[in-house]
Amino acid sequence: MTPIRAIGQFVIDCVVLLGDLCTFAWTLCGWLIVRMPRGRVLWPILFEVGVSSVPVVCVTGLFIGMVLAVQSYDTLSQMHFQSQIGSVINGTLVKELGPVLAAVMLAGRVGSAMAAEIGTMKVSEQIDALRALGADPIAYLVVPRFLACFLMIPALTMIAEGVGIFGGWFVSTQVYGISSHFFWTYSDRFVTGFDVITGVFKSMSFGAAIAVIACQRGFRCGSGAEGVGRAATESFVASFIAILAIDFALALLSIQLVKLLWMLGISVT
């Protein structure tokens, strides 16, 4: 295959994949309107996505917060701004790292498992069995997983941010001797309610993208154990890329929104 043909094929594959994702998401939206899942189906998935993810989100959040404190202190102390470390840690966690970290954890822990589970169901004809028993696979399998990711990720993000901030505060005050008063004062000054809302909105977008990608990969899974493994890997890789792309797009959008609100005389900073 010539390089030009290979590039062309790659572009075509990407367009087909994107089209399939959009069609899949559209069908999902239809079912979200038509029929909500039963509690018996939804609760276990909410528990699995939300409660079971808390320990891993806490551990990673804690370490990220502590690492941020170490790295920020090193830089800020050279400029004698170390007392403002709280603003750096809080701002970074609330605006960027908290939502992205929780989303990456969700994509790795839950998204891959979803793709593998649905893929296994496809390979073992359980999805056909659902159809044969009068249940739509999108309504029965995808809608509850979508809702679980969409609703649980803001809570996970808040937890990751809270634990991360605690880790940052602990290292700053107990290791580097920064005053707790300065830590919280600067945190309050540089992190606004708008940042928190933006972070939550971001996390919901990430959650929706993870659920759609993971379930779509599961439904398009190839045959056998190899196909299931590939679906799980593709789900994580595609979700990770989607998280970064959405993060970039929403960062640009939020800055434009701040400017627009400022022009309208509303200050959110």
Binding site: T120, M121, S124, E125, Q126, D128, A129, R131, A132, L133, G134, A135, D136, Y140
Partner: protein, 289 residues
């Protein structure tokens, strides 16, 4: 030897239904491809109410795909699927969903839902599609378990705790829970020991007899063919056929199948490797001359 000892079933349709020879599911000039691989080509077949139709043929020739098309679980690449003489693609999704509930499907590996226990698996269709109360559902589930010869104690077990034969029986109980009018059995005895195969064949016959359901059975098991078939259709792989040759190489009763001298049918029925078939065919040709 064992095959010859097994008694052939009467090929006539059940008396009560013979007069009502209405097509229930039909494929009209259907072709099916997966990517670049074509599995079915210009295939037409019908399933008549009350009959037990058995589909045979070597692995990969499209038997399971055909049953999925007949059951509306797969959309054909080209051609039409008709239920009660009406095109499935012209029906509203809700109507297709409703009519699909009249069909039960026993999948090759039973396809039990791993996350649910036996009771929940059998109750699934009732919970999803009816307004029945739990006591009523419980009664039906336990009835179906008894019908397939399983003790009540299995109801709390997970599919992973069941043997192959038990899985098939739970799969059958799940399919029967919705009281279907047509039953599809995809290789119901594959992977089972001869005793359990006999039990499953008996269950197919019992279901057909007690419930008067139409049955479509995909199998490689000649005992199943002898015991349950009213009509047999044999498929051939497209890769071994000329472009103009039809994919169905045999259609008739089980007695006609076993009496056939078509080398392709003889090879399949007797389970001869390709090399022995060629040898046998040349021997037969020698005798003729």
């Amino acid at each position: 030897m064992m095959l010859s000892m097994t008694s052939c079933r009467d090929t006539a349709a059940p008396e009560s239904l013979a007069a009502n020879d209405v097509i229930t599911s039909e494929l009209s000039r259907v072709s099916q491809s997966f990517g670049s691989q074509q599995v079915l080509r210009d295939l037409s077949l019908e399933v008549r109410r009350g009959e037990t139709l058995v589909l045979i043929g070597e692995s990969g020739c499209g038997k399971s795909v055909t049953t999925k098309l007949l059951a509306g679980l797969l959309a054909p690449t080209s051609g039409d699927v008709l239920w009660e003489g009406r095109l499935v693609r012209n029906r509203r999704p809700a109507e297709v969903q409703r009519d699909r509930l009249k069909m039960g499907y026993l999948f090759q590996g039973a396809a039990l839902f791993d996350s649910l226990n036996v009771f929940e698996n059998i109750a699934f269709g009732l919970r999803e599609n009816t307004q029945m109360r739990e006591p009523q559902i419980r009664e039906i589930v336990l009835d179906r378990l008894r019908e397939v010869g399983l003790p009540e104690t299995v109801r709390e077990k997970r599919p992973s705790d069941l043997s192959g034969g038990m899985k098939k029986r739970v799969g059958l109980a799940r399919a029967l829970a919705m009281s279907p009018q047509i039953m599809f059995y995809d290789e119901p005895t594959t992977g089972l020991d001869p005793v359990m195969s006999g039990v499953i064949n008996e269950l197919i016959l019992q279901t057909q007899k007690q419930r008067q359901v139409t049955s479509v059975v995909v199998t490689h098991d000649m005992t199943t063919v002898r015991e349950v078939a009213d009509r047999v259709i044999m498929f051939y792989s497209l890769g071994k056929l000329e472009p103009h040759e039809p994919q169905i190489v045999f259609e008739g009763s089980n007695q006609e199948l076993f009496a056939s001298d078509d080398p392709r049918i003889v090879q399949f029925v007797r389970g001869l490797p390709a090399s022995r078939r060629l040898h046998q065919t040349s021997e037969a040709a020698g005798k003729t001359t």
